[in-house]
Amino acid sequence: MQAVSVTGLSRHYGTTRAVDDVSFEVASGEIFGIVGPDGAGKTTLMRLLAGIVTPTSGGAMVAGCDVVADPEAVKQRIGYLSQVFSLYRDLTIGENIDFVADLYSEDLVRAGEAKARMLAMTGLAPFVDRQAGRLSGGMKQKLGLMCALIHRPTVLLLDEPTTGVDPLSRRDFWRILADLPSQGVTIVLSSPYMDEASRCHRLALMDHGRVLAVGSAAELAARVSGQMVEVVTPDPRGALRVLEGLPGLLSATPFGDALHVRLDGDDAVARVSAVLAGAGVVFSEARPAEASLEDAFIDLVGRGETA
């Protein structure tokens, strides 16, 4: 069963095509990521799926409801966590949850049980009486997540949920998300971070309002053109200068103690090694490497490829 089904969805603002003829499907229980550069249309797409923004054309079914014909029903069935913290700073954690439960007219007993369960799950129980405005970034995100889940939505929409959040809090946040699919919750999230994207079951790569590719992180990485070579060297930038202008060079990115080279054609390792050795660049190793999701992203966006 598809939890989200998007068909030819577009939203224009004047001559800007914020979302441009987008189609994809998300299966029930999937964690689906939407990744793309600044201004790709990720947030507009999330708002379209939430029934907050009306499409210019096309449509989407979300949690069994039509976002065009019945956007109010969509809002009842989904949880939506926006980029900006939007709960009451002067209410405590407990009061914020109660307030949201009340807005959704949740049964008091059931909401109480859900609240206790989620406080335990997020580790926020000891802080239930703390004002929301006095929480750390990671705790605010967890509170936002609880409020988005209190009415037991079947689809959860998260817009860049962990931007600016440190790796420890991010790990905790993802630990909570990991249990939701088995409880019947489908997750659609947007992110500018590739390490976060790699935690999703499947991804849509977005740029200029269009979806360029859909697949798992491994499938997208496999679509990168050329061969990847990792050169381990104390002078990655020196190695970069030597390789610039090498025929077939697709990209070269210096890291702290390595240079990642993507080269068109065969024998990439041998060719890179020969050029570096000929120029007297010191390197301990040149070896074939796997393309990362970031390589895939940069390659696909650079090519403007369509799925």
């Binding site: 929480l135 702290g256 103690d257 970031e294």
Partner: protein, 313 residues
């Protein structure tokens, strides 16, 4: 520039707020032309350290030298040799890109004869020219970050301090940003950069990890990755969430985490990855043969900052 290396020397730095030691006996040095990455969870003391290096905040004890000068006695001279990009956009939102750059160039004493050509150079290099007459408040996050960087380097500082300069910025813009940082380092600028994005940490020449006011690790990206341990494994598992829950209960399994349908975990105490996979199968989880995973900076970060209470606030 003819300063002797290193460009930043921090010795036994302490900053207390009441009884709380935000920075607790920290020592580090950044060489000329080095890109030094400064990692750590929120609230660990990174930003406080950076503000002290800038001279915006006085230390409780310890010393800081920037470009050979003591921050306590030469705050004004140091300000002229340091560029600082704060975590939040702090240029004038109601000025255009050109107006902001001209203003900051003037504040930092860039000679009038050179100001125009430097503004043009950096607008060109950071792809800002097409936004020259746009109000800064109307720019996207990524472009604002580029503008903040341009404003911080106009006076050709010897030391550049960047506090989460790419938070919320997409991979293409981040790669371009780090290309520019690399060029500045090639030119001799010393760069101290904080980040939560671990693939960005890999682009630094050296890294330090801070936690609860103290430095807990320092080294090249390879050295830090090595601290993340070697016994990390991955299996494809179905259903993944059940595999995760089971792995968490298995003795000798550490730090299990899901990446899509792949489960990553460490093993210790005599457990083997093969035994864990077999146990998952016995419990009805479909899973393939375990493959070793190369430790990333993020693995190391989480390993070095292990928390048993699950609460890192």
């Amino acid at each position: 520039m003819s300063e002797p290396a290193p460009a930043i020397v921090v010795r036994d730095l302490v900053k207390r707020f009441g009884a709380f030691a935000a920075v607790d006996h920290v020592s580090l040095s950044v060489a000329r032309g080095e890109v030094f990455g400064f990692l750590g969870p929120n609230g660990c003391g990174k930003s406080t350290t950076i503000r002290m290096i800038c001279g915006l905040l006085g230390p409780t004890s310890g010393s800081i030298e920037v470009a050979g000068l003591d921050v306590r006695t030469h705050a004004e001279q140091i300000r002229a040799r340091v560029g600082y990009v704060a975590q939040f956009f702090n240029l004038y939102r109601d000025l255009t890109v050109y107006e902001n750059l001209t203003f900051y160039g003037g504040v930092y004493g860039v000679p009038r004869a050179e100001l125009r050509s430097r503004v043009e150079h950096w607008c060109e290099r950071l792809d800002l020219s097409r936004y020259g007459r746009v109000l800064s408040g109307e720019l996207s996050t990524g472009v604002q970050r580029s503008l903040a960087l341009a404003a911080a380097v106009l006076h050709e500082p010897a030391v550049l301090l960047l506090d989460e300069p790419t938070s919320g910025v997409d991979p293409i813009a981040r790669r371009a940003f780090f290309d520019v940082i690399g060029e500045l380092a090639d030119g001799g600028t010393s760069i101290l950069v904080t980040t939560h994005v671990m693939d960005e940490a890999d682009r630094c020449g050296r890294l330090a990890l801070m936690d609860r006011g103290k430095l807990v690790a320092e080294g090249t990206p390879s050295e830090i990755r090595a601290m993340g341990g070697t016994d990390i494994w991955q299996v494809s598992a179905d259903p993944p969430s059940r595999a995760l829950t089971l792995a968490e209960q298995h003795p000798g399994v550490d730090a299990p985490a899901l990446f899509g349908t792949r489960l990553q975990f460490r093993v210790s105490d005599g457990t083997t990855a093969v035994a864990v996979a077999q146990w998952l199968r016995d419990q009805g989880v479909t899973c393939d043969e375990p493959r070793p995973v190369r430790a990333t900076i993020e693995h190391a970060f989480l390993q070095l900052l292990r928390r048993d209470d699950g609460d890192n606030e």
